[in-house]
């Protein structure tokens, strides 16, 4: 009886780790393969006689080429600038809106909250075309400013929705007692609530940063001059067409472009999983 129970436990654990191995291979092989490609010399990369998985003389040539002969670093800087500006803007606007919708009672508050939630569901591919048209009419087409004002359209709903959840988790009595002592609401918000909210705001900012960093279709349509492109569109539209035998540097670029995101997540994974599932679990 006991031994059969133990046997069942062991076999259950074994199945789990086999499953884990399966998912690790399936989900991570592409990254492994990109890494191998990026450190393999061209002579081995395009040698049909040798197994593609083998690697005899690892080299950093592709990375050096990428940095020295392409505009990779410029695009990376563009990505960072656009992401930082649009994230800051969205966090400020989103925090105010979230506080208002989560805490204050006024007519239409609930409808507004729902509307912002719906906006959060709208895919960017539905809006990119008319948005490009509107931005052209504003005279901002093909500028970095275009991206800085386009990204908040999906970042603000996202931040507002996420932060509303955090605000609701803070006991109301805190600000109420501050107001009893004569503080206005905004003072109570600034001096009591925001300091407590700081971790939540920080994690919302990090999500927003990664969303901007990864954004593709707005960048593709709104910033077409090579020098103002962001990392994803710069790599996809300038490097892919440049040369047929360019795979080493291309994979190096794809990996390097993903590194900042991976670093951010490695620090804030816990928050990320919570934020990703907050909507799903709570509804």
């Amino acid at each position: 009886m006991v031994s059969s129970l133990r046997f069942r436990k062991i076999s259950k654990g074994l199945t789990a780790y086999l499953g884990l191995a399966f998912f690790i291979v399936i989900l991570l092989f592409p990254f492994f393969w990109m890494l191998i490609t990026s450190i393999k010399p061209d002579s081995e990369l395009y040698d049909m006689s040798q197994s593609p998985l083998s690697l005899h003389k690892p080299t950093l040539d592709h990375y050096v080429y990428l940095i020295q002969n392409t505009r990779f670093l410029l695009w990376m800087r563009n990505s960072a600038v656009v992401a930082i500006v649009s994230t800051s803007l969205s966090i400020v606007v989103g925090t105010l809106a979230a506080y208002s919708l989560a805490r204050l009672r006024f007519r239409g508050a609930q409808t507004l909250g729902l509307t912002i939630f719906i906006t959060y569901l709208i895919p960017t591919t539905l809006i990119f075309l008319p948005l490009a048209y509107v931005i052209r009419n504003l005279g901002l087409f093909d500028t970095q400013i275009a991206l800085m004002i386009a990204y908040p359209t999906f970042l603000i709903p996202f931040c507002t929705w996420l932060l509303m959840g955090y605000f609701k988790g803070i006991p109301k009595e805190l600000e109420e007692s501050a107001m009893v002592d004569g503080a206005t609401r905004l003072q109570a918000l600034r001096m009591i609530i925001l300091p407590i909210m700081l971790p939540g705001i920080l994690s919302a900012a990090l999500f927003a940063f990664t969303l901007s960093w990864n954004e593709f279709i707005y960048a593709l349509t709104l910033a077409q001059t090579e020098a103002i492109k962001t990392l994803p569109t710069g790599i996809v539209s300038q490097l892919v067409l440049a040369d047929v035998y360019f795979w080493g540097s291309l994979m190096a670029a794809a990996l390097l472009g993903s590194v900042p995101i991976a670093i951010v997540y490695s620090f804030f994974l816990e928050y990320y999983v919570k934020g990703m599932t907050a909507g799903a679990v709570k509804g």
Partner: protein, 326 residues
């Protein structure tokens, strides 16, 4: 939120209070009256939410109306005039257009097949991760990678893996004797659609996996114990306890994924640009092709609006679900 012990709450409060004790005064100045007026919920509330609403009105609602207007005109990029109002001629043209018909079928095929496999494999991943106790945070972290890195860049990795000459997938399959000759992944309609679906599924599994895992862990352990006492085996425990209780999370995640997959752009753009023979065009890529590359703004806007009905259905279902929860 992490909880903070009550003691530190009140300490913090006291410290803040000292800073902002109000000045004594008998007749309120204009400034004080203004700030009291502004302090009302019915004034402050709308004022704080106004910036967000204005930005979304200007850059989401207004463009959406522009899209509807454009779809009813023959506006092209090459001419600077606003185009002629042609009622539903763009839509009539699309319905007869074989490329559009193909695109509509592709989009449903792409979305339904991809979401189905993402759901099944994601559920499997959640069940597996639920049992993994060693280094669980590490494993969850690295398995999220396909979902968190820029899709356009990981799609480049897949472009290389599907390369007609140097495909590593072909090499492995040939080595293991699973295929007799190279598969032309992206050059033939049937396998091209399969390829973009594979990449979409690959990217989406972790999203389903981690979300459903959170749902799994929210199920009270007592229910399983009760089921065990009643003599339930693993199979019936799954169908009687796990499945029904996981249903709400699954519904929300699936709905979200259907909208996103239906409106997908990057994977197809990077891998096939809609080819070969339009076999992988989706609404989003055809919109880009028609409006931006070919310059027919009106027609392109009409294509993009086909993404809208799915969004509406998803929103209605989602709102119903939220209502039920309240």
């Amino acid at each position: 939120m992490r909880t903070i012990p009550l003691q530190s709450w009140s300490n913090q409060l006291e410290k803040r209070m000292e800073v902002m004790s109000p000045r004594e005064s008998f007749s309120p100045t204009i400034q004080q009256r203004l700030s009291a007026w502004f302090n009302q919920e019915k004034i402050l509330g709308p004022a704080l939410v106004a910036p967000a609403v204005l930005i979304l009105l200007l850059l989401i609602a207004y463009p959406f109306c522009v899209a509807i207007w454009l779809s009813l005109t023959d506006k092209v990029i090459a001419r600077s005039d606003t185009g002629n109002f042609i009622w539903f001629a763009n839509f009539a043209k699309l319905f007869k257009d074989s490329i559009f018909q193909r695109t509509a079928i592709n989009t449903f095929n792409f979305a339904l097949v991809s979401v189905f496999f993402k759901l099944v494999l994601g559920l499997l991943m959640a069940l597996v991760l639920d049992e993994v106790k060693l280094f669980k945070n590490f494993f969850r972290g690295i398995l999220l990678l396909p979902w968190i890195v820029p899709t356009s860049l990981s799609a480049l990795g897949w472009l290389w893996m599907f390369d007609s000459q140097f495909s590593v997938i072909n090499h492995l399959l040939l080595d293991w004797g699973l295929i007799q000759e190279k598969i032309i992944w992206l050059g033939v309609p049937a396998t091209a659609m399969l390829s973009v679906q594979i990449v979409n599924i690959w990217r989406g599994i972790p999203f389903f996996g981690i979300s459903l895992l959170a749902g799994l862990q929210a199920i009270p352990q007592e229910l399983y114990e009760a089921a065990e006492i009643d003599g339930a085996n693993a199979w019936s425990k799954f169908w009687k306890v796990t499945f029904p209780l996981l249903m709400p999370v699954t519904a929300v995640v699936t709905l979200f994924s259907i909208v996103q997959t239906f409106a997908d752009f990057q994977i197809v753009y990077v891998l096939t640009r809609g080819g070969p023979l339009n076999s992988t065009h989706l609404f989003a890529t055809l919109t880009h092709q028609t409006a931006i590359l070919a310059g027919r703004l009106g027609e392109g806007a009409a294509v993009s609006l086909f993404i809208f009905p799915v969004l509406v259905i998803a929103v209605i279902l989602q709102l119903r679900y939220l209502q039920k929860q309240d």
